[in-house]
Structures are given as structure tokens and as C-alpha cells.
Amino acid sequence: MSVLIALRNLLQDRFRLLLSITGVALAVMLVLILEGFVAGLYLQVGAYLENSPGTMVVTQQGVTNLLGATSLLPADAEREARGIQGVEAVVPLLSQFVILDLHELKQPAYMIGYPLGSGLPAERGGPWSLYAGREPEADDEMVFDRVLAERHSLEVGDRFDVMGREFEIVGLSDGTTSWMTSFFFIPKSAAEDLLLAPGATSLLLVTPDAGADEGQLLQRLAELDGVDALTKTEVIENDTKLLVEVFSAPIRLMAGIAVLVGVLVVGLVIYTATIERFREYGMLKAIGSGNGLLYKLVAVQAAVAAGLGSLGGIALAAALAKLIMIVRPEFLIVLQPSSIVIAFVSGVSMALLAGLLPARSVARLEPAAAFRRAS
């Protein structure tokens, strides 16, 4: 019976219920979008290494990630790595973050200088999915990220400056976009010229022989002078960890504010719904109902408002994420099942917190209130 009374009380003013559900939904949506944005960023961070050759990465000693730090290997590291037993192939790369000035917008992009040669570009650390055009064949040619190109109205055949040198876009790549780390590809020799570092190499992508013991091979590679050797998984994890540290504080702050807003919205609705029914609650007390029943009435109303709001928020977040990714494809928003569960639990927690104030009012209500005139 108590559930029925609670539902009736809540549904008595549908517009108010709708507003409260909207408030909670927006708060939950904000939490989910924030979480989804960060989760998407993490996935995009690993895109290059996941699609490049080999299973190991040799970096400058002390450098344990790709995006967070600049690596510069000793001059003969590549030759020595090739000579190690158990190594099948080595791909040398010269890579560096650069800031592109595109249409007066500062666009961070990660430049990959990879060796030209035969075979697929992906086998040499180049683009793994070409949407249009071809891979570079000369030092003034590049493959540019397709989404970034579309955003800045660039096409195959267009030319623009990178660090004072003009490059022609000869290909557009897919799967290389990200809010922070869109990739573009140039020949390694062009990167050496650009960075005034002839013969320089940032890192080596190492493919072990079939059947080689990867642990032992990593150890042998790490014994080379001035280098560190890591698995690709470790490098991706390190990049992700760095990003977590960067983004966790502001994201937590925003999510915290969103949850507070949600608590206030549910609290406001349940409080007003409760005080408007004070006489009825007083009547229930007068005919012998204990505080337990009244608490239950308040809790059910709070849970229904927050539950519906949470479900609405999850649906809104899914729709908004889709819309954002259509309008701005460089944003990847991934709504992970764990985040959805957390958002729902947050919604229910909002209900419990929000129910505290009206529950207190109900507990202090005198049965005699039923016999007074409504104010």
C-alpha cells in the first residue's frame, strides 16, 4: 500500500515529476559524458601502437611512454638491436608532438617519421588505413589524418607548413584521430631534416622471431647502452596512466558538482511533494502509522524520481555521445558498462541523500497536524 501511496503522491503532479527527472537525468548525463570522454581518450591514446608492427618498443633510457616524453636513442641502437638473437624485424621511428597552426587554431598533432620502402606502410610504422591517396614517397609529402583534414577543409593535393617547411598531403588516414593525439605521417628522413637531427631515431618497434622468448629478448634489448625495452602494452599503459593523472582532478570536480546538483533536484522535488501532503501524513500518523511507513513513502518517491532520472540520464548520455561523435569525430566517447553502473548507483545514492530532509520533516510531524487547517 505504501508504494502505491508514494507513487500516487509523486504522479499527482506529472510536470513536477518530469522536471525532477530531467534535473537528475542531466546530472547523470554529465557524469557519464565526462567518464566516457576520458575512457575514449584512453582508447585513442593506444591507437598508434596497437596498429604498428612488433610487440616491443625500445626507447631512450628513462623514457617509458610514447606520448608523454621525447625519446632520442643512441646513434647505434638500431644496428645493435638488429644484431640481437631472437629479433626478426626492427622499425626505427622519429616521432614528436608538434603544434600545427591550422586556420588560426592551435592543433596538437603527433608526427610519425617512418622509413619508406617496400611492403605495406603499416608494416613500417606508417598509416594502417588509408582513406584516400597514397603513402608519402618524397620528403615534402605527408599522410594527414582524415578527420582533421575535413575539419580544416584540407584535401589530397593541398599543401601546408609544418615547422616552417611546406608539405603536400598525398594521403588521408583513418583511425588516427583524437582530441589530443591526431597522427600524421612523413618519411623519417623528412622528420630528421625538420628536427635538425640527421640520423636521429626516437624509438624502435621490435618484432621477435616466432618462438622467441619475449622476456629474455626484452632483457637482451634493455642491456643495450642508453636504452629501455618495454612491451607495447606497457608503453600504452604508461601513456594512459599519465593522462589519468592529468585529467582526474578536473573531471572529479565536475562530476562531484553534477552529483550535488542531482541531490538538490531530487531533494527539492521530494521535499515539496512531502510538505504539500503534510496533512495527509499527519492523518496517517493520527490513525496509527509509525514513522517507518512515512519514511518508506518518502524513500519510494525519492528512489522512483532518481531511478527514472538515472535511466533517462543514461539514455541522454548515449544519444549525446553519438551526436558529439557525428558532429566532431575527433571526440571518442565510450560509455563503459562499469560507468553506467556507477552512474545508476550515483543516482540511487542521490535519492537516499535527497530523502534525508523530507524524512526528517515527516518524523517531526505531529499527528495533530491532520486536524489543523492547511496553511
Binding site: 623514457v63 592551435k106 521535499y271 558529439i324
Partner: protein, 369 residues
């Protein structure tokens, strides 16, 4: 009518508190995100703003430090020094790397600068001294605190061990910190002393930095020369351009939440006084009179919400750096204007809900039981 609106709103203090609190939080969402970005911009440009150089010379086409790379041949040093109006120059080497302390890693801009240079290094030391020789490093004080490091302790940077001889103030941002080592250590690590990253210059009193920067660009090939102000704003532009989409999204959500919360409050306040509004109508009050009443309630709620939001955000600007020193919040006048505009728009939209209710109030209802 204004008095009636005022009384109606303050009749239930709890409801008013919740309403003002909701609006305040929604506006705080807008203000705090702006504050975080503005604070990040200031931290990000801290080195450029404070290190003492008037002009920054970079590789041609390079207009940033953050996430950027610049390489200049060392011959540029003499070329720039000979330009009229240049008082002094300091070469620096720069790259993004990590400070290794046991299992902990701290992302940092490593800057190699000559120990005896008058500018280009740390501008305020929290403890210790500047580097004076090989194998020495100055790190940010928040990194030192986080890692439990003291003067004389060792850290690994660029694959080499360094002794911490000083800690610097104001060199950490949300993203990373700045660490200073000797230029020679940096050259040794790179295996070449033929290139530098940036050349920093000061100008003599007679010439403006703008004029000298122009002169450098005209007379030295392959370089971009920027005054401190220009270089700093180019750097801040990265944060603005990267953050603009996220800011727009958060502002939009904060705005919607504000509308929902305020609309809900004024709606329930109006609903509970429906009979009184009916009475007013029965006594001859026009709809416009009642609109003023609810409009006034909305304006008061939003106005108070804006004041509380500002107070809460200012509180955050003090509290957050205590817990997270690298995260700075800065409230700029432009953010206040934006929040006030958002508040006005929220008030306008939120007031439409009770207005719609009042239009439907039947004067005859006052005679019903």
C-alpha cells in the same frame, strides 16, 4: 506585486535555499571550468612569463613550447647577439620527459640552461639553489613534496642521475612541471652540441621588444622571433583551442541544469500558492501583475544563486590549490560576464514555466473547496 513575489519566495526558507543552491551549483559548474582553464593557461605560460626574457627565438614556423619541438643551429646565437637592440642572449635546450623517482614518474619539461645565465632558469626558489655544475637539477617543489624528495636526493632524468640542489615555486601545472638542468648535461645526453631548442634574449632600454623581434626575423634566416607577450598568448591559445569544445559542452549542460532547478523551484512555489493567485485574479489582478510576481521571484533566486556561485567558486580557488597545488583556478571578469549572461537566460526560461501556470489559473477556483 514585487513585495508579494518576495514574500512568496521567502515564505519557505528551505525551498529558497535549495533553489538558490541548485542555481549556484549550475553556475559554479560554468565558473569553475572557466576558472580551471584560465588557471591552466597561467600555469602553462609561467615559464615564458617569468623567466626574464623579452624575446623568444624559435625554429621558423614554431610558435609554441608546449607539445612542440624547436631546433636551432648554435650559429644562431652569434647572429642574434649581433642584432642591434639585443642586450643579452641565453640558449636553452628543452624537451618533454619524465622525472623518475623509484616507481613514480612525473611528467616534466626539462630545460637545459647555462648555470651562470641571468635568465632562462627558475625565477623563484622554494629551497636550495640554482644548478651550478654537472649532475645537478632543480625540480618543482610540489613534485618534491609528492615524491618525498629533499635537497641532496637523487632523481633520474633522460637516463641519467641528478642531485636535487633546489626546488622551484610556480613551475607545476595540471599537466606537468618544469625541471632545470645544466646546458652541458643536456648536450651530453643528446650527443651533440650543434643545436639548441630556443634562444632567449633581453633588449636594451632604447628599443621595444617588438622592434627587436622584427629585426631578428628579418636578419636571421630560419627563425621565428616573438616577444614574451606574443609567445605567451600563442601558448595560452593551445589551451583555449583544445578546451573550447569541452567548455561549450559543460556550459550547455550547466545551463540546462540551471533551467531545470530554477524552473522546478519557481514552479512548485507558484503551485503551492495557486489559490492565492486565483484570489488575486478574482479581485481583478491582471495576468501581467502576476507575471511580475513570479518574474521577481525568479530574478531573486537567480541573483542570489549567482552570488553564492561566485562565493563557492572563489572558495574553491583557495581550497583546491591546498589539496592539489598544481591545479590553479582563476576567475576572470569575462567568466563572470558569461555566468551572469547564463543566469539571465536561465531566469528568462525558468520564469516561462510559472507564467504558463498562471495564465491557466481560473479565478473561480478560489470559490471551490
Amino acid at each position: 506585486m514585487l513585495r508579494l513575489g518576495y514574500r512568496n519566495l521567502f515564505q519557505s526558507p528551505t525551498r529558497l535555499i535549495v533553489s538558490v543552491g541548485g542555481v549556484a551549483l549550475a553556475l559554479m559548474l560554468i565558473l569553475s571550468l572557466d576558472g580551471i582553464l584560465a588557471g591552466s593557461e597561467r600555469r602553462m605560460t609561467a615559464y615564458i612569463d617569468n623567466t626574464g626574457a623579452d624575446i623568444f627565438v624559435a625554429q621558423s614556423g614554431v610558435r609554441n613550447m608546449h607539445m612542440a619541438s624547436s631546433s636551432l643551429p648554435t650559429s644562431v646565437l652569434g647572429d642574434v647577439q649581433s642584432i642591434e637592440g639585443v642586450l643579452d642572449t641565453t640558449p636553452i635546450l628543452y624537451l618533454t620527459n619524465v622525472i623518475d623517482v623509484g616507481d613514480q614518474q612525473f611528467l616534466a619539461y626539462i630545460i637545459g640552461v647555462e648555470p651562470e645565465a641571468d635568465f632562462g632558469g627558475a625565477w623563484e626558489l622554494a629551497s636550495g639553489r640554482s644548478t651550478s655544475g654537472a649532475g645537478e637539477i632543480v625540480i618543482d617543489e610540489t613534485v618534491a613534496i609528492k615524491a618525498g624528495l629533499g635537497l641532496g636526493d637523487q632523481v633520474d632524468v633522460l637516463g641519467q642521475s641528478f642531485d636535487v640542489v633546489g626546488t622551484a615555486k610556480g613551475t607545476a601545472s595540471m599537466i606537468n612541471s618544469v625541471a632545470f638542468i645544466g646546458l652541458e648535461d643536456f648536450f651530453r645526453q643528446r650527443g651533440t652540441d650543434e643545436t639548441i631548442s630556443y634562444l632567449l634574449a633581453t633588449v636594451s632600454g632604447e628599443d621595444s621588444p617588438e622592434a627587436v623581434a622584427e629585426r631578428i626575423e628579418s636578419n636571421v634566416s630560419g627563425v621565428t622571433a616573438m616577444t614574451r607577450g606574443v609567445f605567451s598568448s600563442e601558448e595560452a591559445q593551445i589551451i583555449q583551442d583544445m578546451g573550447s569544445d569541452i567548455v561549450a559542452l559543460m556550459n550547455g549542460i550547466g545551463f540546462l541544469i540551471g533551467v531545470a532547478v530554477t524552473g522546478l523551484t519557481i514552479y512548485t512555489a507558484t503551485l503551492s500558492r495557486k489559490a492565492e493567485y486565483g484570489m488575486l485574479k478574482a479581485l481583478g489582478a491582471k495576468n501581467s501583475h502576476l507575471y511580475i510576481t513570479v518574474g521577481w521571484q525568479t530574478v531573486i533566486s537567480i541573483g542570489l544563486g549567482l552570488i553564492v556561485a561566485l562565493g563557492l567558486t572563489l572558495g574553491l580557488t583557495v581550497i583546491i590549490p591546498l589539496g592539489v597545488p598544481e591545479l590553479e583556478m582563476l576567475i576572470l571578469p569575462s567568466a563572470l560576464v558569461k555566468a551572469a549572461t547564463a543566469a539571465g537566460a536561465i531566469a528568462l526560461l525558468a520564469a516561462m514555466i510559472p507564467v504558463w501556470q498562471i495564465t491557466r489559473v481560473d479565478p473561480a477556483m478560489v470559490f471551490r473547496r
